[in-house]
């Protein structure tokens, strides 16, 4: 799997290269600034890009802008965005062009090595990986939503994990229940929220995120 990296901090860059290489991925270029990154993304069209939000030259949101622009030029380009902090505003901007092949995670998630590598692979395969922090902010925003209040605590847990982009198997493993139990919860959630139940995992995430982002 070919990866383009956008990270300017040497420590983190080296760490990420080592980590990804150890899991059999090939880092074809590690760009250190916004313009460089955009150019590399468009030129290499990698299987996945791992991008830090804050990059030179302005040290503002160069990385995010480069990622969004690259996805505009190369539709469906899988991008995993990392940041020291998460903002719903940024999540929204990233998702504006579809949630397929999109990740938005706190940087510290790399400490859960296998979880992080799974997220990279899921994004490369066209899936979604949204940080639990973003999801919990989204849910907090719906604190007064009467429809959500009708969900049981368990169904809320499942909803949160779904919004993070996890598969049925992933949710089942996380909650230590059977996959069958998970799909039953999911059925109930979609019924209660009045959403159309899609078979495809990805479209399901989309439906949930769209609901929460409204």
């Amino acid at each position: 799997m070919r990866v383009v990296l956008g990270e300017d901090l040497t420590l983190l860059k080296d760490g990420l290269i080592r980590l990804l290489t150890a899991y059999g991925m090939e880092v074809v270029e590690a760009a250190e600034s916004g313009p460089e990154l955009l150019e590399a993304l468009v030129r290499h069209r990698p299987d996945v890009a791992v991008v830090d939000v804050r990059l030179p030259p302005t040290f503002t949101d160069e990385g995010l802008r480069a990622a969004i622009e690259a996805r505009r030029r190369v539709p469906g380009l899988p991008v995993l965005v990392l940041s020291q902090h998460v903002e719903q505003l940024y999540a929204r901007e990233l998702m504006a062009r579809g949630t397929g092949g999109l990740g938005y995670l706190l940087k510290e998630r790399v400490s859960d090595v296998t979880g992080f590598v799974e997220a990279v692979r899921a994004v490369a395969a066209g899936g979604t990986a949204i940080d639990p922090e973003v999801v919990s902010q989204l849910l907090a925003r719906h604190a007064r939503d009467e429809t959500l209040a009708r969900l049981t605590p368990r169904e809320r847990e499942v909803l949160a994990l779904m919004a993070e982009g996890r598969t049925n198997a992933g949710i089942a493993a996380r909650l230590v229940v059977t996959e069958k139990a998970v799909s039953k919860h999911i059925n109930n959630i979609f019924l209660k929220l009045g959403l159309y139940q899609a078979e495809d995992d990805n479209r399901r995430v989309l439906a949930v995120l769209k609901y929460l982002n409204a």
Binding site: V53, T60, S111
Partner: protein, 406 residues
């Protein structure tokens, strides 16, 4: 003195004469009608039409006075301080805004002194025509024009030329200084302004010292403690990795958990000091991001042409955050809106909701904090919150645009 110097002197004299003449003609032309109009507007105040007329006319008076202040600086390097009373919020339009504007204008001694200047400025301006006449007569005498007052006075007329050339700029300067007597704030006003600034400065210093203490405590009890526990777990794991690999693994997992908690605490802390999104997107983006985290729908309307100075962005961001937190906590509103616009060197931000109203700046409350943040920048805060709502918190402060782009 060569031809070059002569040319420069001639040009300077021409400019001085033109300025003097223009003042002599225009001062009565703008001053007298404005004075009369002002009196007329004030008479209409009891029949309410004045509420509309008075601000219009008196702001016109102030604009003319402001021009004279600027001219004193430009023509004669005489500094005339502008009047210092904080202007009421432009954003509050409607009858309440008009009443407030009238109250401000009528209550500000500067208005009355400006008005007096409209009257006094007319004869004072007429004097400024003198250099032009002196120079014209002097030149006439130089080229042998006959004196109407008979022989012997030619020399006197000739002397008018250097008098006009040398005295002209001094006369303009004298005029500027004289206008300063009426147009500059009185000593009492300056002292009041100084007291205001001193008070808000010491409040700001106190507040930022308290803020630093809080940050120190948070770091000490939070992230630092977590990192200590992190290195402790790693150290123990190192000891055990050979004899008891399972226990070592457990310790490493604990270490990872501590590092995660330390990072989460640092993130919260950083958000409270200077939110990263503010650094990345400026005030506009940060307000949009903030609006997305509030559990009720917030309409955001922003008109900010460029980045503002960082301290201003930070103060206004936290003030808006505080106001929105109040909306969520106390108002019971199901909708809120944030507006911010920058025009004429002033930033106006407004947070309103459709809640229960009845909000007021309790001491030590959130609104007080907002007021303190605003006074530190010579800004103002106003709350209108009749019982039953709606509530509107308006903040306004003067600032320059920063050169950085959005």
């Amino acid at each position: 003195m060569d031809a070059h110097d002569v040319g420069r002197m001639a040009r300077r004299t021409a400019i001085t004469c033109a300025r003097g003449l223009s003042r002599a003609v225009l001062a009565p032309l703008e001053g007298i009608p404005l004075f009369v109009l002002s009196l007329a507007a004030l008479v209409t105040l009891p029949v309410l039409a004045g509420l509309w007329l008075v601000p219009k006319v008196l702001l016109g008076v102030r604009a003319v006075a402001d021009r004279q202040r600027a001219r004193a600086m430009e023509w004669s390097d005489v500094v005339i301080e502008p009047p210092g009373r904080p202007r009421p919020l432009k954003a509050t339009n409607g009858p309440i805004g008009r009443i407030r504007c009238c109250a401000w204008l009528l209550g500000d001694p500067a208005t009355w002194r400006d008005l007096l200047w409209m009257l006094v400025g007319a004869p004072a301006g007429a004097v400024l025509a003198a250099p032009a006449f002196a120079v014209v007569i002097g030149i006439g005498a130089l080229f042998g024009a006959e004196s109407p007052h008979g022989a012997g006075t030619e020399l006197l007329y000739l002397a008018l030329l250097p008098a006009g050339i040398i005295g002209g700029p001094w006369l303009l300067k004298g005029h500027a200084v004289f206008s300063g007597f009426l147009l500059a704030p009185t000593r009492k006003e300056l002292e009041a302004r100084l007291t205001r600034v001193t008070e808000s400065r010491s409040e700001t210093v106190d507040a930022s010292a308290a803020e630093l203490r809080r940050i120190e405590r948070d770091l000490h009890d939070g992230a630092q403690a977590r990192i200590v526990s992190f290195s402790l777990s790693v150290g123990l794991a190192e000891q055990m990795v050979r004899d008891d690999p399972d226990r070592a693994l457990e310790l490493l997992a604990e270490a990872r958990a501590s590092s995660g908690q330390a990072l989460a605490e640092l993130r919260t802390l950083v958000r409270g000091i200077h939110p990263p999104v503010l650094a990345e997107r400026g005030l506009g983006g940060a307000i949009e991001a903030l609006a997305l985290t509030v559990p009720i729908p917030v309409d955001v309307h922003l008109d900010l042409p460029a980045r503002l100075p960082e301290p201003v962005e930070s103060a206004v961001y936290f003030a808006v955050a505080e106001a929105l937190a109040n909306v969520v906590k106390h108002s019971g509103a199901d909708r809120a809106s944030v507006q911010a616009e920058y025009a004429d060197g002033r930033l106006v931000a407004m947070v309103s909701d459709n809640g229960a109203g009845g909000a007021g700046p309790l001491s030590g409350g959130g609104l007080c904090g907002i007021e303190r943040r605003m006074t530190a920048f010579d800004g103002t805060m106003a709350v209108t919150s009749p019982p039953g709502g709606p509530t509107m918190v308006t903040m306004e402060l003067p600032c320059e645009l920063s050169l950085a782009k959005i």
